[in-house]
């Protein structure tokens, strides 16, 4: 059976875990203890030289990168587009995700975990919210007329996108202003596996926060 190595605190890991639960695809999930440097252990690096999660193995095949893992697991599932335009739109979203949408994590959420000074944390989070505002505005406009990221139907794009935006509750993000994005997140609760993914994340966050507090 293939194995996903990950951790629910990582957005791309959540994307894949959610897809596994949604689709019922056969895949074992192993939690990597990131806080103890599990991703830097020799046995891990031997298979996954980039020392990152999510990491995936299927027999001898070992690779990383969430868009690669997600597409590999989704192969054969109805959710995968088969027409040239549908395929192109999905790849277009992946490109945008990697260069832009990831900024919700790299420019906002990372400070929650990595910035120790309370004032600096506040400043950096505010700066990240500002720098990602235009992007959020464009998604707000998008969800005025569209139910999901690529239109009327759930797609792999939603699996990548949702964990980037729904985590913003961690910084008390103003979802009142972004009511369409908020409604989209609510809508996802009807999708199999989504609520469990959110619960796993909340639980992991609680554990991490407690550990970080204990260290200080």
């Amino acid at each position: 059976m293939p194995i996903l190595h990950g951790h629910p605190i990582s957005q791309p890991c959540r994307s894949i875990q959610w897809f596994i639960d949604y689709s019922g695809v056969e895949c074992e999930v192993k939690i990597v203890d990131l806080m103890s440097g599990g991703h830097k252990a020799p046995e891990f690096i031997a298979k996954f030289p980039n020392a990152q999660v999510p990491a995936f193995e299927d027999g001898d095949l070992c690779f990383g990168e969430s868009i690669a893992i997600l597409q590999y697991l989704a192969d054969g599932n109805d959710i995968v587009p088969t027409d040239k335009k549908g395929k192109a739109r999905l790849q277009e979203y992946f490109g945008r995700h990697l260069s832009q949408v990831r900024k919700f994590s790299t420019e906002i959420i990372r400070h929650v975990f990595f910035e120790k000074d309370a004032d600096e944390k506040k400043k950096k989070i505010a700066a990240g919210i500002e720098s990602t505002k235009a992007m959020m505005d464009s998604f707000e406009a998008h969800f005025e007329k569209n139910k999901f990221v690529l239109g009327d139907t759930l797609s792999l794009a939603d699996f990548m996108f949702a964990p980037e935006v729904d985590q913003l509750f961690m910084v008390e993000y103003d979802f009142k202003t972004y009511k369409n994005v908020g409604a989209y997140i609510e809508r996802l609760k009807e999708v199999k596996g989504y609520t469990k993914m959110r619960e796993d994340m909340s639980e992991a966050l609680k554990v991490m926060t407690a550990k970080m507090a204990a260290k200080q």
């Binding site: 690779f63 990168e65 690669a68 260069s99």
Partner: protein, 228 residues
């Protein structure tokens, strides 16, 4: 008589200095496809004008227009252009995974060559060049090591990964020969591509020419400012 329908045209909008544009344009030339290449006038911010934004809301290039279908993101454009080409169709899920793994990593690793090293050079931020170079050395070393044992980025064959990879690394020598010098396997890889792969030499030459034009314009502007 059936009226002959006008062939919908395919247009690639880009710029010869933009690395992802170069990837796509090189692929068009390599694969000999009927795609019109339109260079965005960045001085006039053509990509921010309403006519462009209407088709491509993100205001970015490269951008592809195919009949009434509008597509952005180099990764998507490359896959779309290559969709019927058996040479670029991964033969199994393993090969597909390796390609997608590269595409995923490209943004967080190779792209830094442009953002942290090449862009400061183009903007004339001389004091950012050395620190930028330091920050990209590790990724260059990794790929240099990889190219010691295989001819292309993903193995024995040219793939879409090479089309994305090359316009990031070949810029090093434009900033200065010394920057590419330590990476002999990347150098010989680029040499092989120049010799053997259709469209690459043209892709590189157009870039160096365009860099020259931009830098000349900067110098003129600086001179004018100094005279005022």
């Amino acid at each position: 008589n059936k009226e002959k329908q006008k062939m919908p045209s395919t247009i690639l909008y880009g710029h010869p200095v933009s690395q992802p544009s170069r990837s796509c344009q090189w692929f068009v030339d390599f694969s000999d496809q009927k795609v019109e290449i339109v260079t965005i006038d960045t001085f006039k911010a053509e990509h921010k004008k309403p006519e462009f934004i209407e088709k491509f809301p993100n205001g970015q290039f490269p951008a592809l227009e195919d009949g009434g279908f509008y597509l952005s993101e180099s990764m998507a454009i490359l896959k779309y252009l290559a969709r019927s080409d058996p040479r670029f169709t991964p033969k199994d899920s393993q090969q597909q995974a390796r390609l997608d793994e590269y595409l995923g990593r490209h943004y967080s690793t190779l792209r830094k060559i442009s953002t942290d090293f090449f862009r400061p050079f183009m903007l004339g931020n001389k004091d950012m060049i050395e620190p930028g170079y330091e920050s990209i050395k590790t990724i260059l070393e990794k790929f240099d090591a990889r190219l010691a044992t295989q001819p292309y980025v993903l193995g024995d064959s040219l793939t879409l990964a090479d089309f994305l990879f090359v316009p990031e690394v070949d810029q090093l020598q434009v900033v200065g020969e010394q920057y590419l010098e330590p990476f002999k396997n990347i150098r010989s890889y680029l040499g092989r591509l120049t010799r053997d792969v259709d469209g690459y030499k043209k892709c590189f030459d157009e870039m160096t020419q365009a860099v020259g034009v931009i830098q000349a314009a900067h110098r003129r502007r600086q001179q004018q400012q100094q005279q005022q």
